[in-house]
């Protein structure tokens, strides 16, 4: 995927080239807007070439069903179930992750989860009324930084998973619904189960998560207050800067765990 130009020119792309996986990757790009397309790409410095290839391969394989156009729709609950199970299994079987290597967790999340999250929508929701005041460039930057922060946080949570088990509640939605809530809970060896719900929307290339409810609080809604305060203090650029600084700190602490 990396060889494609940064500016999408859907009409100009040859549709007959390559195998199904290639086709799928192309399909994936076509349906993604500028900001969210970037998520599928691992950041340049932080990934080794080999894991880069793996990530791209996994992504391409994950997109295979799309190549058939009329392939059976995976319902949103099945999708969440599948990707969380894949990530949990991978995290549990990876010795380096068990030993506390956060960078491996980060790579795992980037490869398996990112394609299914609509970060632009999340960022727009968190920024609320300020979103429209931002220039497209600021929107893209903000989305990138917010994505990184969420990825760090999620990876941090994931690296604490030990004997937890996922349980899903029946999906309350019609097949025609395009905006649903997938309800699940993480059952722990001790204490009450942790409620974990996903707000999902059906877009051109399938279902995407745009908010997550942890323990009764919606993540994006919770960030709304933080965003508003930062913006009122230093404008949208101020918020971007705060997020960048935070991400740099988190990147440092992740890098430390990777050295072992």
């Amino acid at each position: 995927m990396r060889r494609h130009p940064t500016e999408p020119t859907p009409e100009g792309w040859p549709r007959t080239r390559g195998n199904a996986a290639d086709e799928a990757a192309l399909e994936y790009q076509l349906f993604n807007n500028q900001a969210s397309r970037r998520f599928a790409q691992p950041p340049q410095e932080t990934m080794k070439p080999f894991s880069k290839i793996i990530a791209i391969l996994m992504l391409a394989v994950g997109m295979l069903p799309l190549a058939g156009h009329a392939a059976a729709e995976e319902n949103p609950q099945a999708l969440v179930k599948r990707i969380s199970q894949e990530v949990l299994d991978a995290a549990k079987s990876d010795k380096e992750i068990q030993a506390g290597n956060q960078k491996r967790v980060l790579d795992l999340v980037k490869a398996k989860i990112l394609p299914y999250i609509d970060f632009q929508r999340m960022t727009a929701l968190a920024a609320g009324r300020y979103w429209r005041q931002a220039t497209p460039e600021q929107q893209a930057k903000l989305t990138d930084e917010f994505r990184d922060l969420l990825v760090y946080t999620y990876s941090g949570a994931l690296s604490q998973v030990r004997d937890q088990k996922l349980e899903f509640k029946p999906l309350r939605a019609d097949p025609s619904d395009t905006d649903v809530e997938v309800r699940s809970q993480v059952v722990q060896p001790r204490g009450e189960p942790i409620q974990l719900n996903y707000r999902m929307e059906k877009v051109a290339d399938g279902w995407k998560i745009y908010d997550i409810n942890v323990l009764g609080a919606w993540l994006v809604q919770t960030y709304k207050g933080n965003f508003a305060s930062e913006i009122s203090r230093g404008g949208i650029d101020g918020l971007i800067k705060t997020l960048q600084e935070k991400n740099n700190r988190l990147a440092e602490s992740v890098a430390k765990t990777g050295k072992s």
Partner: protein, 235 residues
């Protein structure tokens, strides 16, 4: 009684500290921020280190402590379920307490969950909320942490409804209470680290998450925010 004096003292502070702030749910923000950082200092100095030490105890000990106090809390939970007219849940939780207290050796083993009676947690603040009492402004209580005006009023009732409150001798009760609090804090060690990573302003982040979570509990997890939005479509 200490708690009543504390609540009264708080009321005085509120009356004098109310001033213009941006968040309509948080008119006492300056006071709350002070309490938040005070609690944070106490936590860093005493509670967190204690919880970290405690978390090295064998897992079965921690599980036993969690279950024992969880079982006691279930008594008050079931009473609040009856108070909210949730008779089925109330009966289930009475059964839970009965099973866990007898077969679970005084509550040390949570057999009820294994037997398909999942743990609930209801308190008097939720009961008030169920009957339509609005949460009111956000309040950070010294030592107790995030609350609302409604839940601050309900908290002393929760103390009276807690069986451990009547444990005698008092020395035992106090020791048990300390163990209980440290145990609870230990369960949150990971969460508080995550919070550190995630939040831009920890005070605001905790507040906004707490208020949502609390209302979510009052409405039993019917996550009201998005449901209200698309209610006409889904019903």
């Amino acid at each position: 009684m200490g708690t009543i004096i504390r609540v009264a003292a708080l009321a005085v502070v509120f009356a004098t500290s109310g001033c213009a702030t941006t968040n309509p749910n948080d008119p006492f923000e300056p006071f709350n921020r002070t309490m938040f950082s005070l609690n944070d200092k106490l936590d860093q100095a005493a509670l967190k280190p204690a919880a970290q030490a405690y978390s090295h105890l064998p897992s079965f000990v921690q599980t036993g402590v969690t279950n024992f106090f969880g079982n006691l809390a279930d008594v008050w939970t079931s009473i609040n379920e009856f108070l909210q007219g949730k008779a089925a849940d109330g009966v289930t939780d009475v059964m839970r307490v009965a099973v866990n207290t007898t077969f679970g050796i005084g509550g040390l083993i949570d057999i009820g969950s294994e037997a398909g009676m999942p743990k609930h947690s209801e308190d008097f603040g939720q009961t008030l909320g169920f009957w339509g009492v609005k949460p009111g402004p956000y309040v950070v209580l010294p030592l107790f942490g995030p609350s609302t005006l409604r839940d601050t009023v309900a908290t002393p009732v929760d103390f009276l409804g807690d069986p451990w409150y009547y444990e005698r001798p008092v020395r035992w009760r106090n020791t048990g209470t300390v163990v209980r609090i440290v145990n609870q804090r230990a369960a949150l060690l990971n969460v508080s680290n995550l919070l550190e990573d995630a939040a831009l302003d920890r005070y605001e982040f905790v507040r906004d998450a707490y208020l949502q979570r609390r209302e979510g509990k009052v409405h039993d997890g019917a996550s009201s925010f998005y449901e209200e939005e698309d209610a006409p479509a889904s019903h």
